[in-house]
Every structure is written in C-alpha cells, then in structure tokens.
Symmetry: C2
C-alpha cells in the first residue's frame, strides 16, 4: 500500500516536482477532488453551458477566467503543473500524455474543475460502506452508457458513469449520504439493471478496472466527470487538456 498524503498542498507540491504521479483516490480524505478540462475561450461558453445542463455528470466546482491558472479552491496551486498527470487531445484525438502542461499555457485557455465521486467515498467509508475498488487497490469501473446528455453547441454525447457494487441493505444509506455531495455527482443516476443503460457486460468497463459483484450486492451508477472528456473528444475541438484518468486535481475545499 503506498503512502497516503493527507495534506492537499503537500500532494500538489509533490505533483509539481514530479515526485508523485499516481491516482489520487484515497489521498487527502474530506477534500474535494476534481476533474480538469481546459478548452480555448472560443469553445468555453458552449462547454460551460454543457456542464450547466448536465449537472449530474459535470457538476462545476470552479471555472477560471481565461488565462488564469490559480483556482480559488486551492490557494497557491497551479492547474498546469499540480496534477499527477495530464492528457492532451488535439482535434478529438489523444495526442500525448504529459507530466505537466506548463509549456502549453496560452492566455485564451479556460480551465474547468468538475466534481469527482472520490470526494464522497470517505463519507461512505465513515459509514462502514465497503468500496471494492479501494479494498482491491483498483481504479473505479466506468462505462459509456446510452443515456444522452443534453447537448450544448458542438458538445454532445452519452453520459459516462462510475459503478460501485453496494449491498442491497446499504443502498438507501448510500443515497442518503451522497445527496449531501451535489458537487461530487450527488445521488446515483441508476440502481441495478445495467442493461437499461446499454451496458452489456459489467466485467468490461470502458475506463478503469472491473471489480467483482457479489450475490448480496447491486451495481449502483453515478454520473462521472469523464463525460466531459468524452464529449470534448467527440466534438473534435482543436485543443482540450485534461487530467489523466484517476489522477485528479486535489483541492483544499471540504465541499
């Protein structure tokens, strides 16, 4: 088991120096973790509108002014260096993965921080709800669904969801707890019945790692910030910079 970093500023500093390049789940418990999406100003209104229209998938934690790189939710941070890893999409194609994107900064780039379900996992664990992917040291399982998002300008596409197996007797408690975290996707979008979402095989996620589902459990599905990456990629915009999967921006915010 790796060292878990409690202090978000320390973790961000380790990212900046290149000393930390791992997924952030489990680190800095009780702090809001966020998906990153950076798009040119020319596409920013439509992208902001997309997020506003699809709050279960893309709850906005913070949107920065064009050219700004220091968010209010993490004093001293730099969004272009303080994540464990980045992806760069050009014209809708993954062009490269990078440890930082400082060299790509431009005054017209607008950074979006979008909520992440990692932010409520500590509260579930506090209530003795076991989370399989954390127990097994895996990334959470994510799937593209047939749920259409509400489009905005050139941004359109299906909702991506994360899935956690939950004991049937715990489902109501889980929903009750998650309702307190609307910026971290809030309540689930779907309980049980993966086929209705267009998911043919839970053992073959589109992103992340598959986990076992036991006899006394049901699969529970939450909106996922990867939706934003997916629609940005699908739109074919000239440039979109995101975090690498599971390697979130860790804020100081307690939500």
């Amino acid at each position: 088991m790796p060292v878990l970093h409690d202090d978000p500023a320390t973790l961000r500093q380790l990212c900046r120096s290149g000393a930390f390049d791992q997924p952030t789940a489990g680190h800095a418990p009780r702090r809001v973790q966020a998906n990153l999406a950076i798009v040119p100003r020319a596409d920013a209104f439509d992208f902001l509108l997309f997020c506003q229209r699809n709050p279960k998938a893309c709850p906005l934690v913070e949107v920065l002014a064009p050219g700004a790189r220091a968010p209010l939710c993490a004093p001293g941070a730099d969004l272009f260096t303080d994540l464990p890893g980045y992806r760069v999409y050009r014209d809708g194609h993954l062009a490269e993965e990078r440890a930082d994107v400082a060299a790509l900064w431009r005054p017209d780039l607008v950074a979006f921080l979008i909520g992440c379900s990692f932010s409520f996992e500590w509260a579930l664990q506090d209530a003795d709800i076991a989370l399989r992917h954390l127990e097994q040291g895996r990334n959470v399982a994510m799937y593209r669904t047939r749920l259409a998002c509400v489009p905005a300008g050139r941004f359109a596409g299906e909702m991506v969801v994360s899935m956690r197996p939950i004991r049937s007797r715990d489902v109501a408690t889980v929903i009750d707890i998650c309702a307190r975290f609307p910026q971290a996707h809030g309540t689930p979008v779907h309980v049980g019945n993966p086929g209705a979402l267009g998911i043919a095989d839970l053992m073959q996620p589109d992103y992340g790692d598959a986990v076992e589902i036991r006899d006394d459990e049901v699969p529970v599905f939450w909106g996922c910030g990867v939706t934003a990456q997916w629609v940005a990629q699908r739109s074919g915009i000239a440039l979109c910079i995101t975090h690498a999967p599971g390697k979130m921006f860790v804020t100081d915010s307690k939500g």
Copy 2:
C-alpha cells in the same frame, strides 16, 4: 384578491395576449418561477460564469442557446412574449419598460433563467409558515447588501437579498424546507442582524415593499435574482433585457 392562475401554460398565454400584466407571486403554485436576463453572446460567457460563481444569488434554472427563445422547462413558451412585463437596459441605464420584447430579438441574444424564491413559498405555506408579503398583497422586500459577489469578467457588485420576517420558533423549519430548493436560492444567506449586511433600515427596501416585523419574529434573508439585474446594470453592457420586478417567467417545472 385577483384570480390566481394554476396552470402555467394558461398564465403564459395570457401574458402573450396582453391580458395579464401583474406580479406572478402566488400564481401556479409548485411551479418554478424564474428571473429572466438576456444578454448579447459577447457578454454571455462572463455572465454565465458570474452565475456559476454566485449560486446562492443566481442559481441557474436554464440557459438557452444564442438566438433561442423556447426553453425546455416550459414547452411552447416564448421568453420574448410570455412574461407579464419586461425592462430594457442600455449601456447600464433603464431605457424602457415593455409588455413584450419580440421586436428586440436578435440571433446573438442569450437568455438566462435564474431561480426565484417564489418557488419555495408554497412549501413554506404548506407547513403553516405565514408569509407577510403574501398576506398583505405586497411585493417581497429586497435590499442591496455589502456582501460582495464573486466577480466574473466585467460583472461585479453586491448581493441583493430578499427578506421575510419569520417567527423565531419557525426559523429551523424554514431552513430545512428551503434546503430542498437549491434552484430557488435554497437556504438563507443570513438570519437576523440586518446591520451586518449594511442594511440601515429594514423599512426602506431598495426594491419591493416594506413589511412589518413583529416582536416574535426575526428578519431572514435569501439571495435574490435581482442581483443579476443589478450587476448587469452596473457593468454597463450595451443591452440587457430582464423581467419587470415581481413579474417572473412561470415554468412548467416542479423543481
């Protein structure tokens, strides 16, 4: 007491034909009512950002695409004709009040629907919480405060709040109920102590009508969508079209 219209589509049709030009409080109970602000596309990103950064004052119900006038939350409606009254601001000054703004439509105009506290008043009344302004047939009292909003681009200014006198024993119940309506400003921003908000005299509201506060009551303050009008006016943008005070857009949405 005037006739109260239950059906939102009927009420909108009466607005469109010119047969209804009154404030909408108390009409169409359980339906979301919304503030309207229409700004040019060139200012829309900053304005959307302002709303996103100030959700207690400017919770977004819906943002339409440039040029669109039919919102999803009210099928068949036209935002340029279906309100009881409009205001037109040019270069930061109130230029005119109009019964409709169809003649001002342009393909680059972006319409914002911002939540209104009228949307939770029915739930308070259901819980036997008396609301003085409704009892007395007045507009709710609104004040500009010294609370600074988080600025966005050229949009900046103080939060405007609405005030309702609430019995001390009911304050907790009121907060509990309002928490269910985040799109209608949600929980209060301030309870008691108007001086701390910079309000010298509750009997002299900046907008709406003063109401009596009794010995067993405290003044309770909510974020108010008039904040959006105030910062749009203050910014001096070339054009901003809004609803006239108290004359909201009535949606079909049950929130």
